[in-house]
């Protein structure tokens, strides 16, 4: 497996990806909370 210096797709660095994944998680939790409140 090649290591290290491949160009990161879409974001400037891998930190961009990590932030994106965590933000999506937070958004999902918020959406699910709203869903729970709405249907219960």
């Amino acid at each position: 497996m090649k290591t290290g210096d491949d160009k990161v797709p879409l974001f400037r660095s891998w930190n961009g990806w990590y932030t994106f994944v965590l933000v999506v998680l937070v958004i999902l939790i918020v959406l699910f909370s709203l869903l729970t409140q709405h249907f219960t």
Partner: protein
């Protein structure tokens, strides 16, 4: 099953097996057989990771889990994206730098052979037993459909898997998982469509979710707080999902060879990371829709008579027992409840009145009482009182059209084969790399390595079939049984890796002692919880095991003394 269903089922499975054998042409060496020559792009890594994790256990038991317990099981996956990020930052670069075959090879470079061997041994026990349970899952289906003896069914299912996996290796596993997931997603979508399609004409998806929600099934987010205090024994809530689920996912994707082996096949570190991160993005929405099918099935059975117990075999046994009259009484009561429910539902869907909602809730309580009474009779009759795994299957068999039943059954087989094949491949790779080549025969040619690898795959297939034979006595829902088993070992394994990555001053002796002590602690706490001495959800065991290894290792190293610079 209709003849058309059988044709669809057999044709689908035969096509997958044929495709797997076709794709088995690879280099006849360890790199080719276990790692597909490290050539896979990120999207194939993603599908392979998903296919490995989503077994028949997911697809069969998850809708049943939502039917009985609501959507809150989704919270179990909230730690997964966080774990994916941590693995990309730490684990992937370390593994790819060392060009290892198994995650445990890394531990010998960091600690010593004893730590590597101990960790690999824990993996083999945990994954071997879990895979046995995962072979059993589709066998329940065959046994229920055909009326076959469950033990014979295990043999048939396990035999097919062994042929497929021994021939295939990692490359065939990855490519077949790609096709399997396409079929699985199509099947999920079709099942979801037909559940909604079979609801009354004036009821749409939103109305169905409204009914399910008002009856407690849309409990997607729960806090675990009861009477003002956090309930540690509550299995699925936001906190246990994020924290406990994080440790479980970190261990599963970071240290379990069945998953590590997937992203080690990547052609570059970038492809590994992308596959893992994309899984972190899509897993929760995918699991949400699988669970949602369970809620829709629940709503469906509000409008249609649900069986008092979904395992037909147990009901037939009960009918012909001394409890037959009691069962008949409960069935009559269920019919009467359903009749009242239809009226209340019709009124509620028109008016959304709180009075009719309270009536519905009261009727649901009565339904739960009837089910509870039936389960009690089944227990007295010496049967298995858990029908969670049969709920979705019952719906598929009773209400899906001809041809689609066969497709959905094929989906369940494919889901099982995908994850079991990856597991057998990983068990064999760890056996060969961490044990056989390490202790039995270090130097041998590529062809011999290849042949030995195939024999180990075969051997593990046989072991897992034997485990499947004993899985029938497990009382919990299968999906919980697999995860409970994981939680007994994952915490300790993860703790060893966390010490390896983040606590550079801790040496081999300290971490080994810590791992043994931590494992004893985890098993003890599990036993205490199972016998109600303490209340502790199983997800917490992952965190406890990991943290215990770290703390015990620090203590042990402190007693030993830290090495001078």
């Amino acid at each position: 099953m209709n003849i058309a269903d059988w044709i669809v089922l057999i044709a689908t499975l035969a096509a997958i097996v044929g495709y797997g054998v076709y794709k088995s042409r690879t280099s006849r060496n360890l790199d080719g057989y276990f790692l597909s020559n490290r050539s896979m792009p990120w999207w194939l890594i993603l599908l392979s990771i998903m296919g490995t994790q989503a077994s028949a256990v997911t697809f069969l038991a998850a809708p049943g889990q939502a039917y009985t317990d609501g959507m809150r099981f989704i919270q179990y996956y909230f730690g997964l994206p966080i774990a994916a990020v941590v693995i990309c930052i730490t684990f992937v670069p370390a593994f790819s730098r060392l060009k290892i075959y198994t995650a445990y090879e890394f531990l010998e470079t960091r600690f010593d052979a004893r730590t590597r061997t101990f960790t690999a041994f824990l993996f083999l026990i945990q994954r071997g037993l879990s895979t046995g349970i995962s072979i059993f899952a589709p066998s329940i289906i065959l046994s229920t459909i055909l009326g076959w003896n469950i033990y014979l069914t295990n043999l048939v299912m396990g035999g097919l898997l062994i042929i497929y996996t021994v021939t295939g290796g990692a490359r065939a596993v990855a490519y077949t998982q790609k096709i399997q997931l396409i079929v699985i997603f199509a099947g999920m979508f079709i099942a979801g469509y037909y559940v909604v399609h079979n609801l009354p004409q004036d009821m749409g998806l939103s109305d169905a979710l409204d009914v399910g929600g008002k009856l407690g099934k849309m409990n997607v987010i729960t806090t675990g707080v009861k009477d003002g205090r956090f309930d540690w024994s509550d299995r699925y809530n936001l906190i246990s999902g994020i924290i406990g689920g994080f440790f479980l996912a970190l261990s599963y994707f970071g240290t379990d060879q069945s998953q590590v082996g997937r992203y080690l096949t990547a052609k570059s570190e970038k492809e590994s990371k992308l596959g893992l991160l994309m899984n972190g993005l899509v897993k929760i929405p995918v699991q949400f829709f699988i669970l949602l099918i369970g809620v829709l099935v629940f709503t469906f059975y509000q409008f249609n008579q649900a069986p008092v117990f979904f395992n037909e075999k147990e009901l037939v046994r009960l009918e012909s027992s001394e409890y037959g009259d009691s069962l008949a009484t409960l069935r009559n009561r269920s019919l009467s409840i359903q009749s009242s429910r239809k009226e209340a539902l019709s009124a509620y869907t028109k008016t959304k009145s709180p009075i009719h909602l309270e009536t519905l809730k009261g009727l649901q309580v009565e339904t739960d009482e009837v089910r509870s009474s039936v389960k009690s009779l089944i227990r007295k009759n010496g049967g298995d009182d858990n029908d969670t795994n049969y709920i979705f299957l019952r719906f598929v068999m009773d209400y899906l059209p001809v041809g689609l039943v066969g497709l959905l059954i094929a989906v369940i087989f494919l889901a099982s084969w995908g994850s079991v094949a990856a597991a057998l491949n990983s068990l064999a790779s760890s056996s060969v790399v961490d044990f056989h080549k390490r202790f039995i025969k270090k130097e041998c040619g590529q062809e011999e390595d290849y042949n030995v690898s195939r024999w180990y795959t075969f051997g593990w297939g046989v072991f897992c079939v034997i485990v499947a034979m004993f899985a029938y006595n497990i009382g919990n829902s299968l999906i919980e049984a697999v995860n409970i088993l994981g939680s007994l070992f994952y915490g300790t394994i993860l703790g060893i890796f966390l010490v390896a990555f983040y606590f550079k001053k801790i040496g081999a002796k300290a971490v080994f002692i810590a791992a043994v002590l931590a494992e004893l602690l985890v098993v003890t706490m599990f036993w205490l919880s199972e016998h109600d001495y303490i209340g502790l959800g199983f997800l917490w065991l992952n965190a406890i095991g990991s943290i215990a290894v770290i703390l015990f290792a620090i203590m042990a190293q402190t007693i030993q003394g830290y090495p001078k610079k």
